[in-house]
Each structure stands twice: as C-alpha cells, then as structure tokens.
C-alpha cells in the first residue's frame, strides 16, 4: 500500500501529485505520507544518545593506517 501510494500518491499520477504539493492542504498530507515512507517520522521518535555530537568528517587531514 505504501509503495503504491509513492508511485501514485493519493491515487494521482506523479505530475498531478507534484502540482498538489504547491498548495498547503494537500502538501501537508503528502509530506506526512512521504515522511512515513522515508522513515523520517520514525527517526523523530527515536532517542539519540546524549553524548552524540553532529557528524564531522574527522578523517580529513589524518593519515590512513
């Protein structure tokens, strides 16, 4: 069901769905659907360990092993 709705969001062809994204009401609904499908909603509910800082590419400037 989720997969089908990504391809034809709310039963609409992709172009029509893209146009709907330009109006606030349908957009909010579509964004919620998409956030569920992409796992973003679940990510919000997940606890982050308190000692985790945002990612930094620490390897830059460091010699490899």
């Amino acid at each position: 069901m989720a997969r089908e709705s990504t391809r034809r969001i709310l039963g609409l062809p992709l172009k029509a769905a893209a146009r709907l994204m330009e109006t606030p009401g349908p957009r909010a609904l579509l964004v919620r659907v998409a956030e569920g499908q992409f796992g973003i909603a679940a990510l919000r509910d997940r606890d982050v360990p308190t000692d985790l800082a945002p990612y930094v590419p620490h390897h830059l400037g460091k010699e490899g092993e």
Binding site: L14, K15, V48, A53
Partner: protein
Amino acid sequence: MSATFHPLRAADYRAAYLEGRTTPSAVAESLLKASRAAKSRNPSMSLFITQYGAEVRALAAASTERYAQGGSLGPLDGVPVSVKDEIDQEGYPTTVGTSFLGKAPALCDAEVVARLRASGALLCGKANMQEIGLGVTGINPHHGAARNPYDARRMTGGSSSGSGAMVGAGLCPLSIGADGGGSIRIPAALCGVVGLKPTFGRVSEHGAAPLCWSLAHLGPIGATVQDVATALEVIAGPDAADPNTLGQPELGKPALGAERRGVEGLRIGWSDTWASKAEPELRTLCFAAVETLVQAGARRVEVDLQDLDLMAPVQYVTIGVEMAASQHEWRRDHMRDYAADTRLLLEMASRVSGVDYVRAQRFRTLISQRFAGVFEEVDVLATPMTAITAPMIPKGAEKSGLSDDAVLEGITAFSFAANLTGLPALTLPVGYDVSGLPVGLQLMGKHWQEALLLEVGAVLEAGIKRRAPAIHFDVLGAALIS
C-alpha cells in the same frame, strides 16, 4: 554461452596508439559515429547531454600530434573519457540534468576536468544524468532515460546514468561520475562495469555543482579495475580550491598486474543480516565472490552491524535538506521546470526541519562509530552493491520520472553507508542473474585505503567471466588502420 567478453581498457587504446595501429583522431571519428548510432537507436540510449564534435576532434588532433612526436602525456593520452553533466568543462554547458541550467557554457574546467585535460584525455562529452542527481533510476524527462546496455528496456541506475551506460556500451573506457548516495556505484553495478567512490576529500569537488556538500564525491566509472585505478591516479590529490582535499595521505600505488600483492591474510567482512536485504540470487553470487577471496588466502569475518535501519532515513534527511538548500534560489522561478519526481522530493525535503537535520547528523555520528568498530575487525567489508538487478523502465516514467520506494530501496540498500561515513567503496561485476543482467559486489575500506580496494578488486576481477552487453560499440576496433 558465448566466449568471455574482454571490455576495451584505456591501456588497449594507449597500446594501439603507441604501436601505430590507430590514432586518437581515428578513434574520435569512430566514437562520434558510435555516439550518433547510440542516440538514433529506438529507443535512444540517451547517453550524452552535450557532445561537440569539433571539440572532440580538436583534442584528438592534439593527442595524435603528441604521439606522432613521441611526446604523449601518459596512460590517458587520447583515451576517450566523458564527464557527468554536473561537472564543469570549459566551453560546454553544465545543465546538471535540468532543462534550465547551463544556458551559457562553463568558463573554465572543474579541477578533475583540468587534470584529465592535462593528462591528454580525449574529453568526449557531457554524460546524461538524473536531474540534479536526486534519484537513482537514471530516468530524466528532459534529456531522455538512459538505457541499460544489457537490456535497453531497463534502467541504468543513477544518478550518473549516462556515465555507467556509455562505459558499459563500450563508447569509452572511463567516465567521471558523482556519488552522493550511490550515484557512481549504482549505475556501474547495474550496467556491468566498475565504479569507485573515493574517500570523502580524496578528489576535488571544485567546479562540480554543489548539490549535497557533506555527501558528495567525484570518482571514476571504468571498464575494468585497472581503468578506475588509472583515472584515480590522475584526478586525486590536494587542491587548494577544495579545503577538504588538503592534508590527504598519498594515494598509494594501486598496484595492479605484476605488483599485486594478493589477498593473503586479509580479513574480509561480510554481514549476513545486511546481505539478506538483497535478492537471493545476488546474495549468492556476491557471497561466492567473497569465497573466492577466501580460497586465495583471505579470511572471511562475519560482522555484526547494528543500527542498519538508521541509514536510509538519515541519508534521506541529509541529502534531501542539502539538495533543497542547493536549489533554494532556483526553486522560486523554476519549480515547474523540474521533473515531477524531482519536484516532489524537493517539496518534501524543504519541509524537513532544522532539528530533523541536526538529529540526523547526530545519528550519522553513531553510524560512523558502528563502521569504525567494524573496521577494527576487518580490512575490507563486502556487500552486494544493490539488492536487485536493473529494473524495467515503467510505461510513462520517461515523461514524468519515477517515484517508487520499492525501486529506491532495492537499488540503494547498500550504497548509503559509504556516503554517510566518507569511507571509500568500489563496485565491480561478479556475475549475472538468470536474465543475464550484471550483479555488482561492493567493497568498502577504511578511509584513504582506495589502493587496497583496487588490489582486492583486481584479484576478484581476474576470476570473473565478463559477458558482452546486448548493445556494444567497438570504438577502437572500428578505428584500427587495416
């Protein structure tokens, strides 16, 4: 089954020039003819966005003259190399796969293109790509859906779609792609060729479209491991214009051929849990490839990778927000000019909050820690490159693009980790599925250890029987002087 297929390598072109069997100018004519043939197929292969015959001929003439004078510039002199159309090449537009960017030609080369030009490479055109690199199908409603050389009804993968397809189809032994979520490795795997996403900071991004700053990498797609190694030696190294590249360690010799040290004693990591995301046929072929390394003296180590489920949402938040930010100025005037699938993703990504983004970067640290732990136990981590082989292009998708999370999940199941962590990753073909479609293995390594991946890749490649694609152009053979 037909005889083993030996794709043309950069070294084959160079040998033919040095032995006087052909010239870069003759190859340029052959290449341009093959490009026209690929374009005029039904459906069109849609490999290039722009190709200027006069420019290709001029570069070839200069290379021909160098060979005639005995002063060639090295292993890439006169070798056809294309560049993904998000990377600037002087005199060519940079459309980034859109319908509205690149209305004027680039005024100077990106650093990678400058290095290729200095090496004498026969820059043969700007390769087709997914619009702004935001997607992995290779379907571009503005410039055509690139077609898989193993089955033209199928996707090439993306976003470096033209690059993967044209190397697979034999038009050139090398192309430079860009990879923010698998975009070098995925089309390489689906089109049956080799692709390398180097360590983050190994190759200068200067002159490439800034689309997803923290995830983006430039790197080579090549016919063989050796081609990719040769290209990496040319394009890698510090560039003052890209601070991330400064301070990088030496590349190390991608020791191929006689200098190969083999895989004796290497610890090859494999995760059954992760590999189970792939279709059984792909998993079996990739595991068999790992076993050939074991037979050659390596040791397989089963690794326990935790928090695998975090990778996709962290990647989506990160690339989505960075892409939406990169397009912020354009979206106001050009929102309806993007393909429908791009538009949808940009709209969704622009609604992700700053808190979401920072939290995703914190989870990204956790993912990096997980992989650092794995690389204390292993030297190389092997996975399938994709969970599925090249999917069919659905009816109608050519016009509006495709947004299908089953396809997305199948193609990207193994690609995000290397972008999120900056670790280098190589893919090479290790077999073919029941439909004859290529199956790629991915080898990930520690930061800066591209040379080791190339060595292991070369050992594997030596034991793989390559199959010819259904659509193939013998550019060098057609240029030989009889």
